[in-house]
């Protein structure tokens, strides 16, 4: 292994999905014996880059060098042959098989007769597990383990094979402090053996603790690579979020009217705690927070998908009892869900039908549908939101993400929603469609509708909102007027208390 040549070098990697450029000219260089942190916001392209490295996704452009020699990674087998292993967030374990079987799924030890050597397999698995100092029985079924234990099994599985590049996608998400320490111990051990480790994380503290170098991605583009010891936390945050705010967003100044929605003490056990908020007519209320802070749960609870355990909600001063999505829609609410394909649209049915659901739910027709009337209204709305299609009979599954999202929005315009709950509405949508979507939001508030907007993209949230609530651990921590806050302020309050303390230390 020549020392001056990096183990793996990715140059000008580009990946295009229909309608979206997920990666554009991204570089990444991995040296033997280093822990290389890969950071960036949601949707920055970290996962896509990893998938290209392992061969799970083909790249559209760029080249990959292994020890200075160009290589083609066109399938998972190629990635494995080069010694590239990944531990994904969504664990790829077989839940009904034992721990040992999972660890040796690719190369089971066999006896001379060619049968599986169970004692040997269990012994070796137990030995590998022992390095983690955890009490996991190699013969236990994987589905009986906790998520943290499964994570460890996945790590052990990756370690059992000869790997020159080991990728860990947010391994700390489910590990406790002690388990994390042990993981770091193992990582240092692997480092000494000369492996290159790619460590993806949202928690910058961890990056400082374990990382040697860091590469930052933003919006599918390469931002910077630096020695961990040369950068500050502030610098990293700036690289992650700091984009110019010109022309990317669209907002009109709208007079904010009287309160239309008032929430007091809303609680869903284990999800939301004591939420208070008011929403004015024509207002866009932004909700910031990290993944798992309870933002989606707040919107879904208001929309009737979860039953609240305590609290009261009034709409236009009248009490609103949360029962079901149907009830919420009758009260003028509409939800654009985060998981568009599974919750927002019906992919196998036409644009026309998807939008018409919004009309039908208002019970315009008692039993028999008057189709000319229905489709005239639908066509009008599709035209208004600007769905780009050959015909409205086209299946929604054939549309790009942006146009699918416009279809969802048109459905809620059809149901005459007055309060729109938007959950990550621009995720996975290309830049052009985003701008159109912002203009639609602006048009809605101009027509005196109100919006609650959840977005992980802080610049977007800050540019669009009038007011911002910051959530963490299911609670509202802080309220800002959008023009008074900086991204750093918001981010600071979004990080849970415990982590904030360790941040202050480092």
């Amino acid at each position: 292994m020549a020392d001056d040549n990096p183990v793996l070098k990715m140059e000008r990697i580009t990946k295009e999905f229909p309608g979206v450029k997920a990666l554009e000219n991204v570089d990444l260089e991995l040296r033997s014996g280093e822990v290389h942190c890969l950071i960036g916001e949601n949707g920055a392209g970290k996962s896509t880059l990893i998938k290209i490295m392992t061969g799970a996704l083909p790249k559209t452009g760029g080249r990959i060098l292994s020890n200075g020699k160009p290589v083609e990674i066109s399938g998972p087998q190629d990635g494995k042959a080069l010694g590239i292993r990944a531990i994904y967030q969504e664990l790829d374990l077989l839940p009904t098989l034992s721990v040992a079987e999972n660890i040796f799924v690719e190369s089971r030890p066999t006896t001379r007769a060619g049968l599986i050597d169970w004692p040997e397999m269990n012994r070796r698995a137990q030995e590998l597990l022992g390095r983690f100092d955890v009490r996991i029985d190699a013969r236990a079924k994987v589905r009986q383990l906790t998520v943290a234990e499964q994570q460890i099994v996945a790590i052990v599985k990756a370690l059992s094979q000869d790997s020159r590049v080991l990728i860990m996608d947010e391994p700390s998400a489910v590990l406790t402090g002690g388990e994390l320490e042990r993981l770091f111990g193992i990582i240092r051990q692997l480092k000494q053996q000369g492996a290159a480790i790619v460590y993806i994380t949202h928690r910058l503290v961890e990056a400082f603790e374990i990382g040697d170098r860091v590469t930052v991605l933003r919006d599918g583009k390469y931002v910077a690579t630096a020695e961990m010891k040369d950068v500050s936390m502030e610098q990293l945050i700036k690289w992650m979020v700091g984009r110019k705010l010109e022309e990317q967003f669209y907002k009109e100044k709208v007079r904010i009217g009287p309160t239309v929605l008032e929430v007091k003490g809303l609680t869903v056990n284990g999800k939301l705690k004591d939420i208070d908020l008011q929403l004015g007519e024509g207002e866009i209320l932004g909700i910031a927070g990290l993944v798992g802070a309870g933002r989606t749960e707040l919107l879904k609870t208001l929309f009737g998908a979860y039953r609240p355990d305590a609290g009261s909600v009034t709409i236009h001063g009248k009490p609103y009892h949360i029962t079901s999505p149907r009830g919420a829609i009758r009260h003028g609410l509409g939800l654009v869900p985060e998981d568009r394909k599974n919750e927002g649209v019906v992919l196998c049915r036409s644009i026309e039908e998807n939008i018409s659901v919004g009309v039908l739910v208002r019970r315009v027709f008692k039993f028999i549908v008057h189709f000319p009337k229905l489709f005239a209204r639908v066509a009008q709305l599709a035209n208004y939101v600007g769905v780009k299609c050959h015909s409205l009979q086209q299946g929604v599954g054939t549309l790009s993400g942006g146009n699918q999202q416009k279809t969802v929005l048109a459905k809620w315009l059809a149901s005459e929603s007055q309060i729109l709950l938007l959950d990550e509405p621009t995720r996975g949508i290309d830049v052009g469609s985003k701008l159109e979507f912002y203009k639609l939001i602006a048009a809605m508030v101009r027509e005196r509708k109100s919006v609650i907007l959840v977005s992980s993209e802080l610049p977007e949230l800050m540019a669009l909102s009038d007011r911002i609530l910051v959530m963490s651990n299911g609670q509202i921590r802080k309220e800002f007027m959008a023009d008074e806050a900086t991204q750093e302020d918001v981010l600071k309050h979004a990080i849970p208390q415990e982590l904030r303390q360790s941040l202050a230390v480092s």
């Binding site: 999505p325 919750e343 927002g344 649209v345 992919l347 196998c348 027709f365 028999i368 149901s415």
Partner: protein, 323 residues
């Protein structure tokens, strides 16, 4: 159609275009031509066609109800047993001097009750439809045999035989029942709010729920419809057989599901139509009829029907671009 008919060529190309878009219709027509040719014209004789339709009316009626269950990504495997249960109820009550109205009412209610139960187990109990209706099949068949300790019931009153043997204007009454059920199904599915909801819930239940559609109610109604259709089929079949039998319609459920699937309704839900199902039933009917005319061994016939089902479904999957 206001198409000009100056050149016969254009008509043919138009017909070909229509057939190209409707592969099932093409299969149907090709089968019809083959049947006619191979049977030396007997197939097309009014008596044969009439006979064939009378024989398959029961399955046709079941298939209409089955379409709703399958459109909702479910299936109803209890239909055949419901037919037997309704048959026994009908025959038992009729021969014990309850006249004709009460047996019919009770029979239809029994079908609806079976559907309701299956539906509740599927929606409230969250049991997969395959299991729920399979269990229902066993229960319904069990009750059917229990009524007379598995003895068939003969000697139905003449009024009851009308459904399977009577005609109106020369057309068998069961064919008219089938036609009406089918028309009602088409109407429900294409013209009503309920029909729209069936397609949306079948396509994506989560999304439907978050759009304010009560998916449970939609499914419940579908299983009741399927049960009622099975009960109607039970009435015409019992009437035609002139007996109540606990072991009738043992293979009819397979044919009902096959009609729907050959008719192009997706097992994944959300796609399909009643018109497709009707063509599906007709294809099965024609296949059987043709093989009977050709005196093919009935045991071989079953295998051939199975092969046809596989063939059409494979074609459908290809067309839908299933991963």
């Amino acid at each position: 159609m206001e198409v000009s008919t100056d050149t016969p060529k254009s008509i043919w190309s138009q017909i070909l275009a229509i057939l190209g878009k409707n592969p099932r219709l093409s299969v149907f027509l090709i089968l019809a031509v083959i049947s006619t040719a191979l049977s030396k014209g007997i197939f097309l004789s009014p008596a044969n066609l009439h006979n064939m339709l009378r024989q398959y009316a029961g399955i046709g009626i079941m298939a209409v109800g089955q379409t709703f269950a399958i459109l909702l990504a479910g299936v109803d495997l209890s239909q055949g047993s419901v037919v037997a249960l309704v048959s026994m109820i009908l025959a038992y009550l009729n021969t014990s001097g309850c006249g004709i109205v009460w047996p019919l009412v009770v029979g239809l209610c029994a079908g609806a009750a079976c559907g309701l139960t299956s539906g509740l187990i599927v929606t409230r109990g969250k049991v997969p439809p395959f299991i729920a209706t399979l269990a229902m099949a066993s229960i319904a068949r069990g009750i059917a045999t229990l009524i007379t300790q598995a003895r068939p019931v003969y000697g139905l009153s003449k009024e009851l035989l009308v459904f399977g043997r009577g005609t109106v204007g020369g057309i068998g009454i069961q064919i008219l029942v089938w036609a009406n059920v089918a028309l009602l199904g088409v109407f429900l599915l294409t013209r009503t709010v309920y029909g729209r909801e069936v397609y949306i819930v079948g396509g994506n239940e989560r999304s439907a729920n978050l759009s304010g559609i009560n998916a449970h109610r939609v499914k419940l109604a579908a299983y009741i419809l399927s049960g009622v259709c099975a009960a109607l089929a039970g009435i015409v079949i019992t009437s035609k057989l002139d007996m109540g039998g606990p072991y009738i319609s043992l293979t009819d459920n397979v044919q009902s599901v096959a009609s729907v699937v050959i008719g192009g309704t997706s097992f994944a839900g959300g796609r399909g139509s009643i018109s497709g199902t009707i063509v599906g039933t007709l294809i099965i009917a024609m296949m059987n009829n043709l093989m009977n005319l050709m005196l093919i061994n009935p045991y071989i016939q079953q295998g051939i029907i199975g092969a046809i089902i596989l063939l059409t479904v494979t074609m459908n999957q290809r067309k839908a671009g299933v991963r």
